[in-house]
């Protein structure tokens, strides 16, 4: 099935209007020598067979694993309305709203999305989405470089290792030095950072809650960073902002993060969306599309893509970013999620996450030999230290159908026994009990 509708007769009519005798004639510009010599693809099939095949593919993944893993993607509830509304064809089969009059739906939704991100983060301006949380780290660092004209970035090692890797990839060829501050018991080593912070630093990148789940207050850090003329960038987990001090309240300059937890399914890692919000004065250095409010000829409110002079289609290599397609539909899902869960709802959801996580923490740390890694408080993710290497424990538990957590040793030398456990509102008490029981059993057997 090619979904090509024209009949043989219509094709003939079109060819004669064009004045060529065959479709092949339209490809005459391609020299014969360059033509494809083989095109070894399978035979096509009907949509019904296709869907059966896709079910078979999905069926090869195990689908009943009990999840206590996070690491940037979180298994949260998604209100049914999110699928139904983002599934409106007018949203998902439209392109970027370059023609504003016939795209007010997308434009207003993105303006509302930007507002939600500003309000969540406590900052002034937001763009209309980036690719994901990791690339948002890179974009925010590039923003700091542009704004300050400096070329060093300090990064807390407690920032997600994936984000740090992506940051390095992006900045590899730019004349920039990335300095990592080793973690200290699952938290930022403030003294270590203070030693490195000077007026060559463009930006300092931290994460809250960090990869170990530790929650910190970066208010004083912001003052220190600003004192050196640098920007403070915080990567945040949006669901936690139902409870935690916002980047804006801490004095952070740029907040970024991954929006998957806001109404986007795990979907083996994507699509989700990255968000970025900043203080107003940084707006001209923001990457990506921004929607702005304006009026039409009758003075009626309307929305347009604005400040496009920052973007690649105008500025080409001088643009603030190369991003063109973003993750608009996922951002819309985020907005719908935040709208249906609502103001009090997000607060309650954050509490529920923390309550469940604290319960799991108390259950797990009462297993002999299991200790908490961090001394600071946590949100819905925390790190325990096992009496042995966590890797074989995790793989033994996986075979029992439990993804018990992320072994920190895969990403941090010296933390081979550490296990990062995530507990969202979707996990019931009895599932947490099952986890604790299973961890205890596996530890006893080993």
């Amino acid at each position: 099935m090619s979904y090509c509708p024209n009949t043989e007769k219509e094709q003939q009519e079109m060819l004669s209007a064009i004045g060529v005798s065959s479709v092949e004639g339209l490809f005459a510009a391609i020299p014969a020598a360059l033509r494809a010599k083989h095109f070894d693809l399978p035979q096509g099939m009907s949509e019904f067979e296709t869907f059966d095949r896709m079910k078979a593919v999905a069926g090869k993944n195990s689908s009943d694993t009990l999840n206590f893993i996070g690491g940037g993607f979180y298994d949260h509830i998604i209100p049914a309305a999110v699928d139904h509304l983002s599934g409106r064809a007018e949203f998902y089969t439209a392109y970027t709203p370059y023609q504003p009059e016939c795209s007010q739906g997308t434009l207003q939704a993105l303006f509302e999305y930007q507002t939600a991100i500003c309000r969540l983060t406590g900052l002034d301006v937001s763009n209309a989405s980036l690719y994901d949380g990791a690339t948002a780290c890179a974009e925010s660092a590039m923003m700091a470089l542009r704004v300050t004209g400096r070329n060093r970035i300090l990064v807390d090692a407690c920032v997600s290792p994936f984000s740090r890797e992506v940051l390095k990839t992006y900045l590899f060829n730019l004349d920039v030095e990335i300095v990592e501050i080793p973690q200290a018991d699952g938290a930022l080593d403030r003294a270590g950072l203070a030693r490195l912070l000077d007026d060559t630093v463009a930006g300092v990148l931290v994460q809250n809650p960090n990869f170990f789940g530790t929650v910190e207050d970066f208010t004083s850090l912001a003052a220190e960073v600003h004192a050196k003329g640098a920007l403070l960038i915080a990567s945040v987990y949006p669901v936690s902002l139902g409870m935690l001090k916002s980047p804006g309240e801490m004095g952070v300059d740029i907040a970024i993060g991954d929006g998957q937890s806001l109404g986007n399914p795990l979907s083996f890692g994507g699509p989700s969306f990255g968000f970025i919000a900043a203080k107003k004065k940084l707006i001209r250095n923001m990457p990506g599309r921004i929607v702005g409010e304006t009026v039409d000829r009758n003075g009626k409110r309307g929305f347009v893509l604005t400040l496009q002079a920052r973007e690649q289609h105008i500025k080409r290599h001088k643009a603030t970013s190369n991003i063109c397609s973003n993750q608009g539909l996922c951002a819309l899902r985020g907005l719908i999620f935040l709208s249906t869960v609502g103001k009090e709802g997000l607060k309650d959801m954050a509490s529920l996450n923390r309550d469940k996580s604290e319960y799991a923490k108390s259950r797990l740390t009462s297993i002999p030999g299991v200790k908490l890694l961090q001394s600071g408080p946590t949100f819905n993710e925390f790190t325990i230290s096992l009496p042995q290497s966590s890797q074989p424990v995790v793989s033994a538990l996986l075979k029992k159908g439990i993804a018990a957590g992320v072994p920190a040793g895969e990403y941090y030398n010296g933390l081979e026994n550490a296990l990062i456990v995530t507990v969202t509102e979707k996990r019931s008490k009895s599932e947490i009990d099952r986890l604790a029981q299973a961890v205890q059993e596996v530890l006893q057997c080993n």
């Binding site: 096509g44 993607f73 392109y95 690339t135 699509p271 103001k343 319960y359 996986l398």
Partner: protein, 482 residues
């Protein structure tokens, strides 16, 4: 329409959460807490449903309107693709990264691997990474691969430039810039392709890569493409293919066969996945053998017994370019699209896309100026210069079309054509739909002659008339005050 925040009532709530079955935790220290809950909407579920349903109705879209937006390949997005992607919603990507976790993800890893193989065959490449999240992300990844290649040969310092034609998409130079290169731009010659002589002059040992799309953004296939790539290779410059226009050539010619070393594909263009009002897309990158060592990690590899696993420790890898394995859901749709259409289906896609574009070109060329009048591929670029002389610009014709229920073609791109009107019908539109569109385009041309003033007020059928973009840029009102 009111903003969703303007519909809020203090204390109103939407979706109910599950009740807690665990003890409440002790409160966090105040210093860690936010002072006020974020000012999110306080509305009922019905309010939200009505708001977003009505918002959606303020959009044009492929499912409601012909949408011949050039360079964007707005083809029909088959509904079975949506259903297919939904099957994968519950799978956590971290599972695959746990020790022993790949075993539990053989379906998803296998699909990504197979998609890579299919895309490699379609483009004539040796291996594909599915990590990049959109076309521009693929470009950046691709240029970083090229840079790693040169670095491995000890040429990092020497290779300073990336060459792009002036008809290229803005992301090409922007991506090359992130990858650390300076840009050399080559003008387009009267024959619609990059000026060959100027290109030859520009080439030196310092050029790291030449980035092209072929057919280019004028919709023209460059017959000298092999010569160009030979020249580039003679300077050890690699050829980068912007796959945004792949929809024109499937089964006809493979970028890999004509000398390209790296390619990104826009799955959201060629492979039938929806554009989502701006995204998400997916931008897998294919490379020739020489570049495989530099591919992003983790790489998905298939062992002889058919088991899939992740390879994290690629020595030369440029590293990770995104969080996990790319926009998996988008790739699931593209994979379903490819296996559904199959070999013959994909060839037909390109043939019919090209036939449709040439038909529109033939029918409209008496009415609109055609700066490069040769057989086009999947899109054709007119100029509204004739009409502009009367004061009716490309943007005015766009607004005329909106009032007639058509999404306008791309206007003012490529930048090298004045008053550009870039039409890409795609293969999923029927002659009947195109004929109706052609009539309306002709009507616009006639009205531009007879009544040019009438365009200024258009559109009149939409919720808003033309918007004040200057005010938006000046006031920077990008967030609704709390």
């Amino acid at each position: 329409m009111q903003l969703i925040y303007e519909k809020s009532t203090p204390g109103r709530s939407g979706v109910k959460l599950p009740a807690s079955d665990v003890p409440a935790a002790a409160a966090l220290p105040v210093a860690l807490l936010r002072k006020e809950p974020a000012g999110l909407p306080e509305i009922s579920e019905l309010d939200a449903v009505r708001h977003f349903t009505n918002l959606s109705r303020r959009n044009f879209s492929v499912d409601t309107n012909f949408y011949p937006l050039g360079s964007c390949t707005m083809k029909y997005n088959a509904k079975v693709l949506e259903n297919s992607a939904a099957l994968f919603a519950p799978f956590h990507p971290m599972t695959a990264l746990l020790p022993g976790g790949e075993e539990f993800c053989q379906g998803t890893l296998g699909m990504l691997h197979e998609l890579g193989s299919l895309l490699a065959e379609i483009t004539g490449m040796d291996e594909v990474t599915t990590q990049p999240l959109a076309g521009a992300h693929g470009e950046m990844t691709g240029v970083l691969l090229i840079s790693a290649y040169h670095a491995a040969k000890g040429n990092k310092a020497k290779k300073k430039y990336v060459v792009v034609p002036d008809s290229s998409h803005g992301t090409n130079p922007a991506s090359a810039a992130i990858a650390g290169y300076e840009i050399i731009t080559i003008p387009t010659a009267s024959y619609g392709d990059m000026d060959l002589e100027l290109f030859k002059k520009a080439m030196t040992d310092e050029v790291a890569a030449v980035m092209m799309t072929c057919p280019n953004t004028l919709g023209l296939f460059n017959p000298h493409i092999k010569e160009i790539s030979d020249i580039a290779h003679s300077y050890d410059a690699l050829m980068y293919y912007d796959g945004a226009n792949l929809n024109a050539i499937m089964g006809k010619v493979k970028p890999g066969d004509v000398g390209f070393d790296v390619i990104h594909m826009n799955l959201h263009k060629t492979f039938g996945t929806p554009h989502g009002g701006g995204g998400p897309g997916a931008g897998p990158v294919g490379v020739k053998k020489e570049l495989i060592p530099f591919l992003p990690s983790p790489r998905i590899v298939k062992s002889d017994n058919g088991k899939l696993s992740l390879q994290n420790n690629n020595k030369g890898s440029i590293g990770r370019t995104a969080n996990f394995f790319g926009n998996f859901g988008v790739m699931a749709k593209a994979y379903a699209y490819i296996i559904m259409l199959g070999k013959e289906g994909l060839i037909q896609v390109s043939e019919q896309a090209v036939l449709n574009a040439n038909y529109i070109k033939a029918r409209l060329k008496d009415w609109y100026d055609l700066p490069y009048d040769m057989t086009c591929m999947h899109e054709c670029v007119f100029s509204a210069s004739k009409q502009a002389a009367k004061g009716v610009h490309a943007i005015d014709i766009a607004k005329f079309l909106i009032d007639k229920g058509y999404h306008p073609p791309t206007v003012y791109f490529p930048l090298i054509v004045k008053e550009a009107i870039m039409i890409e019908p795609t293969e999923t539109e029927s002659k009947g739909v195109m004929d109706a569109f052609i009539e309306v385009m002709i009507e616009a041309a006639k009205q531009a002659e007879s009544d040019p003033e009438s365009f200024a007020a258009m559109p009149v059928t939409m919720p808003v008339t033309r918007l004040d973009e200057t005010k938006a840029a000046r006031e920077q009102n990008v967030c609704c005050a709390d």
